[in-house]
């Protein structure tokens, strides 16, 4: 029988399906952070329950952690409540003997950077985390889903998720990405086409040569933003790129087990002729560098475009469009190139990996950021990404260009820590959401790729990284 990758993973994890068509899905890996876990652990305690399989859990604090210094550990968190939350994660992990990379551990970082980096995310797995960007891990041919705190508690207690099988969508991008375009531009383009509610009820398999040619870092960037279309998960079939990334990672199987695993992993792709509930096919030639102009990731256009006019929209859409323009302080028809920027943020679970930092350093080499930029920061996704970048000397290029070089955490992507925008400030950001207030109350976000963020820092305004040198 022909099966899609999704069918294969789903079927191999289905413990039971009841008369309502609802399944118990076995979960291999549970990734935990401080913001969505305290109430779940408290629930376990109140009901006198414990984790079903504590060895399946990997925890690290990321959302609330400061990025300016690390030598005082938890004590350096200035906000008392945030400090208590990180301390609570610490205590819960100690109480249940759960593996945690705490603030003093070089392996600490953003959950979705750390899991893959450690080889804790493996092909064919089901993985959950109380965070919507859990879809990131799907880059490894895994079914990775973001869940709420009640479901975190449910998985802790039972190792299962109660779920009806979602519908499946395949998004195929064939061809070669144009020079100067990145994985971030690819996913921003796709979101613009599918829309932010376009994948509600679906999981997405990304396929095609443009996807195959991406590195694992690039694939993670693509899968990461699946949730911005409403998808439960986004994933990519296993291939040589997946295999070489995993080889030698701390928790990846070795020796005989690796061979055994590899035999299974090689089956983790959709069979020829597998069927999908919905299909999109895009042409990679259309995927030029993109930037968001509004307050939803679907408000996205090529950098060479202009802020759109709300014609041809129904009333609800027009209202949303006008509201977005007002919030963003932009007017219809303005060219995107030239919109002045106050702050630049490079980092997050979308673009905080070594490849992203290399791209930023390559663009910044020999350049300095514009004097009008109030702050430009690079926040590595994990302590190990930071160490790797420093070993390559990337931090020196970044620092001498005028950027700050920070410690790992979610930082300005969610602004739950001291890194945030002030009201009215405009940011070129490599993160994943440009919602109202996302990066700070009243803050204005333009989502871009790492090179586009670096180019904006150099120019002082949104610009086309491909023609930055001509601009100077």
């Amino acid at each position: 029988m022909t099966k899609s990758l999704f069918d294969k993973i789903w079927d191999s994890h289905c413990v039971d399906t009841n008369e309502n068509g609802t399944s118990l899905l076995y979960i291999d890996r549970h990734v935990v952070h401080e913001v969505t876990s305290a109430q779940a652990f408290e629930g376990l305690r109140a009901a006198n329950r414990g984790p079903w399989r504590k060895g399946s859990i990997l925890a690290t604090p990321d959302h609330q952690v400061p990025t300016t210094q690390r030598n005082q550990g938890i004590a350096a968190i200035s906000d008392g409540l945030a400090r208590l939350q990180v301390k609570t994660l610490d205590e819960n992990c100690n109480e249940h003997d759960i593996l945690q990379f705490d603030l003093d551990d070089i392996r600490q970082g953003i959950v979705h950077v750390v899991g893959p980096e450690q080889g804790a995310t493996l092909p064919g797995m089901t993985l959950v985390c109380g965070d919507s960007h859990t879809s990131t891990h799907g880059a490894f041919a895994a079914l990775a889903q973001g869940i709420g705190t009640s479901e975190v508690e449910h998985v802790l207690a039972t190792q299962c998720l109660i779920q009806k099988k979602p519908l499946s969508m395949r998004i195929t991008v064939d061809g070669k990405l144009p020079s100067g375009s990145t994985a971030k531009d690819l996913i921003l383009y796709i979101i613009g086409q599918v829309g932010m509610a376009g994948a509600n009820g679906y999981v997405i398999e990304y396929a095609g040569t443009a996807i195959r040619e991406l590195s694992m870092e690039g694939r993670m960037t693509v899968c990461n933003m699946s949730i911005e279309m409403g998808a439960r998960a986004g994933f990519i079939g296993f291939d040589k790129t997946t295999e070489s990334y995993l080889s030698g990672r701390p928790f990846a199987p070795r020796a005989a087990l690796q061979q055994q695993a590899l035999e299974h992993w090689l089956t983790l792709h959709s069979d020829k002729g597998a069927s999908f509930d919905k299909e999109y096919i895009f042409n990679s030639d259309d995927i030029t560098p993109h930037v968001t102009w509004g307050t939803s990731p679907e408000h996205v256009l090529p950098i060479t475009g202009s802020v759109p006019t709300p014609s041809n929209l129904d009333e609800t859409q027009r209202n949303q469009h006008e509201r977005a323009l007002e919030y963003m302080g932009l007017s219809a028809g303005m060219p995107l190139i030239g919109i002045p920027i106050d702050r630049v943020f490079v980092g997050s679970c979308t673009n905080g990996r070594i490849e992203d930092i290399r791209a930023v350093a390559a663009l910044l080499d020999g350049k300095t950021i514009a004097s009008t930029i109030k702050e430009a920061i690079v926040v590595p996704g994990s302590g190990l990404v930071k160490a790797q970048a420093e070993q390559e000397g990337l931090h020196e290029i970044i620092l001498s260009a005028g950027f700050e070089w920070r410690h790992p955490g979610c930082s300005m992507c969610n602004a739950m820590n001291p890194d945030r925008l002030e009201a009215g400030e405009r940011c070129a950001s490599t993160s994943n959401r440009n919602f109202e207030g996302r990066q700070g109350t009243g803050g204005r976000t333009h989502l871009v790729s790492p090179v586009m963020a670096a180019a904006a820092a150099v120019s002082g305004h949104l610009t086309d990284a491909r023609t930055l040198d001509q601009e100077e």
């Binding site: 191999s12 759960i98 109660i162």
Partner: protein, 214 residues
């Protein structure tokens, strides 16, 4: 969890699409480690004119009179009428805790994202998906001078208002769980034997996954 069988209440219309969970419960309130007490902060940036944090006394906040929740006609309403994709974005269950603590029992919209749906069911809130044209009809009534009161019957899956009736469908498993108000963890743990049997067979086949990370 409290059982949900039938509910009658006033409707608050919130006529905007893609309301995300950052807007429903802004980041500064996600520092709390409790499951309750979020009602005063729901839609914080829209509901108040000044910025707030966990320790800002609510009595000192400046109310935004233009925002739907603050209009006298919608005070004590318990049914939220929304547009498509209500609750998109972050998985934060705090958004649903905020709606619940404010007093919302039912949310009606043309569509919801999956994580938000599950968070609603887990907290005894009923999300009702209706056709866009039915949602538009309800908006017309709810935005009129006299407002709209509605009764939602989960047993018959009907919305009743002004001698009209609209049938809706929700996932049967979720419907049963709301009607019975049961603890889903307890229900799953009753199947422990099945999970254990599955696990043995599973690790036998995929032995490299039987790794204790610690």
């Amino acid at each position: 969890m409290e059982k949900f069988i039938r509910h009658s209440g006033r409707v608050i219309p919130m006529n905007r699409a893609n309301v995300d969970t950052d807007a429903i419960m802004p980041k500064q309130y996600l520092k709390c480690i409790s499951r309750y007490g979020y009602g005063d902060w729901v839609f914080d940036s829209w509901r108040y004119l000044d910025p707030g944090d966990v320790d800002t006394p609510i009595s000192q906040r400046r109310i935004n009179p233009e925002f739907e929740l603050n209009k006298p006609i919608y005070s004590s309403a318990s049914v939220l009428l929304a547009q498509n994709n209500f609750g998109c974005g972050s998985s934060r269950e705090h958004a649903v805790w905020g709606l619940r603590d404010y007093g919302i029992k039912v949310i009606i919209a043309p569509g919801f994202p999956d994580i938000f749906l599950n968070n609603c069911f887990a907290n005894g809130l009923l999300p009702v998906r209706l056709e866009q044209q039915d949602v538009n009809r309800l908006f017309d009534l709810a935005e009129s001078d006299h407002g709209l009161s509605i009764t939602i019957d989960l047993d018959s899956q009907d919305l009743e208002f002004e001698s009209q009736k609209i049938n809706f469908k929700i996932d049967e498993n979720s419907r049963q769980s709301l009607i019975k108000g049961y603890d889903s963890i307890e229900a799953t743990l009753q199947q422990s034997k099945k999970i254990e049997t599955f696990e043995r067979r599973y690790f036998n086949q995929y032995s490299w996954l039987e790794v204790d990370l610690k």
